[in-house]
Amino acid sequence: MVRDMTNALSRLLETRDWLMADGATGTNLFNMGLSSGDAPEMWNVEHPEKIKALYAGAVDAGSDLFLTNSFGGNASRLKLHGAEGRVRELNRIAAELGREVADAAGRPVIVAGSVGPTGEIMAPMGSLTHELAVEMFHEQAEGLKEGGADVLWVETISAVEEYKAAAEAAKLAGMAWCGTMSFDTAGRTMMGITSADLAKVIDKLDHPPLAFGANCGVGAADLLRTVLGFAATGSQTPIIAKGNAGIPKYHDGHIHYDGTPSLMGDYAVLARDCGATIIGGCCGTTPEHLRAMKEALETRPRGDRPTLDEIAAKLGGFSSTSDGTDGDGPERRKSRRRG
């Protein structure tokens, strides 16, 4: 694959052998006073100073890349808040605010335009057609592009069909992109996709991502098992690891993730040893976690690829015994018709 060097992320990947991404968006916005049930994207217009503070939190903690506050910024999701007519505007502003923060950093920082799932099931199982999904993602992509995002960052996807629709939208918008899936169900996505499946999918895309990987899911340990799965396919495309800071707990009206900054530091170094190039956090990851991750990545040496046991010893156990890539998983019921 010939890499398109006109893109800021490609250039950064050329000069560095690891990059640190950002942490959570929802968790950090909650800490700033976002109410449960409200659309975070509205804050791009209503509280731009808080969104800039969110971005600056990651940049000041040493992130080389951060995601815009546009995860739910597609027409399907915004419709819930009666804002389906504001897709272009809310995404453009999300990226413009990001551009301001990144350009003031004094070092190259990538503005990655976050694109989350539509929340709908795609045809033939569900009602969302490929064409409509592409159209929704494309509308969002044009807004992010207009606001100055360096790349599109498609995340938390569970269906291959939706991943492909986002790829096509990125192509239509003429943008480079990265794409991660959420492996939250017995080591696979909700739709049953394994890490090896995703690696195969990106190899066949007509507009492949600059980097691919996993975000969110269950805990940091599960996420690294997924990264090992990507690495085992021998894929040459850089791998992204964006895991949650532990699991959510509820305290006095707040959600708190139980992963400590020190645990996330261990996670970051292990992620790199597993083969990830772009390393960040997801839900529960605050600037404090990011600082610990950055320090760990800068000060600790690279190690051998860890075994599953080593990962479990440092980060805790896995949510399932198999992730569907080892052939050790339980088998489907035999049926007479299928033979």
């Binding site: 959570a24 929802g26 968790t27 916005l29 909650f30 976002l34 449960s36 049930g37 409200d38 659309a39 975070p40 399907s76 999701r77 419709k79 819930l80 808040h81 929340g119 099931i121 199982m125 569900g126 569970s158 939250d184 169900t185 017995a186 080591g187 696979r188 996505t189 909700m190 739709m191 049953g192 699991i247 959510p248 707990k249 509820y250 305290h251 009206g253 707040h254 959600i255 839900c283 399932s320 198999s322 569907g324 998983g329 339980p330 088998e331 489907r332 019921r333 049926s335 007479r336 018709r337 299928r338 033979g339």
Partner: protein
């Protein structure tokens, strides 16, 4: 041609037919399920027996393999769709024959959350287990839940959230129920990807259900307990 044509449902005896219907539910074959239901009814099975032994039995297998990470959402949606075909035939007959009621559930995704995949799976599996389900859809404010509890008088309230930004809203609903003194009139079950057992306990739900299969088992256990208490 595949060996699919080799199986003629009407030539199977009852036991083989039910076993084949388990396979066909598992494989999401709607027409075959509809045919199987019709055959069993023709053979004199009561609608309730067809529901419990063939459909609920088959969906239990699907639910178990979903819980164990063998089947995933697409397969379960197909299976549920096949079951729906059978249910469409049975529903009017069940009403006519006054079949026993397993329980009733009101379910909905909380305010701010558009996600309904998990909730729909729970609805389907609950129906598959014989429950009556009233689905409030997505984005439900507390008033909407309370209104449905008032009019539907269910045994169970189910709430779903897929986002960390919306899951705390479940507590808002439960707190309001407590304020109004109606919390203990219902079994409250919660679910969704970012939740866990501890969260369910912390917000005052009766139980957190990891997936649709667990939801069915939990609902059955709580309803049985409630009935026992009432009879005690």
């Amino acid at each position: 041609m595949s060996d699919q044509d080799d199986i003629i449902l009407s030539e199977l005896n009852d036991e083989e037919l039910v076993e084949q219907m388990f396979d066909d539910l598992y494989d999401g074959l709607k027409e075959e399920i509809e045919e199987g239901v019709e055959i069993l009814l023709e053979r004199g099975w009561t609608p309730y027996r067809v529901l419990t032994e063939a459909l609920v039995g088959g969906m239990t297998v699907v639910g178990r393999d979903f819980r164990d990470g063998i089947l995933f959402v697409p397969e379960v949606l197909l299976a549920a769709n096949a079951m729906k075909g059978g249910m469409a035939i049975l529903k009017p007959l069940l009403a006519e024959t006054g079949a026993p009621r397993v329980g009733k559930m009101v379910i909905g995704t909380v305010k701010g959350d558009i996600h309904d995949i998990g909730k729909n799976l729970v609805s389907m599996m609950m129906e598959g287990a014989g429950f009556e389900v009233v689905d409030l859809g997505i984005n439900n404010a507390v008033e909407k839940y309370l209104e449905a509890l008032e009019t539907e008088k269910p045994d169970i309230l189910g709430m779903s959230a897929l986002l960390t930004t919306t899951m705390p809203y479940m507590k808002t609903v439960i707190d309001t129920m407590v304020e109004q003194g109606i919390r203990d009139d219902y079994i409250v079950l919660v679910g969704g990807a970012p939740l866990n057992e501890e969260f369910g306990r912390a917000i005052g739900a009766d139980a957190y259900c990891r997936d649709a299969a667990v939801a069915v088992d939990t609902a059955k256990a709580f309803v049985a307990r409630k009935h026992n208490q009432m009879n005690a």
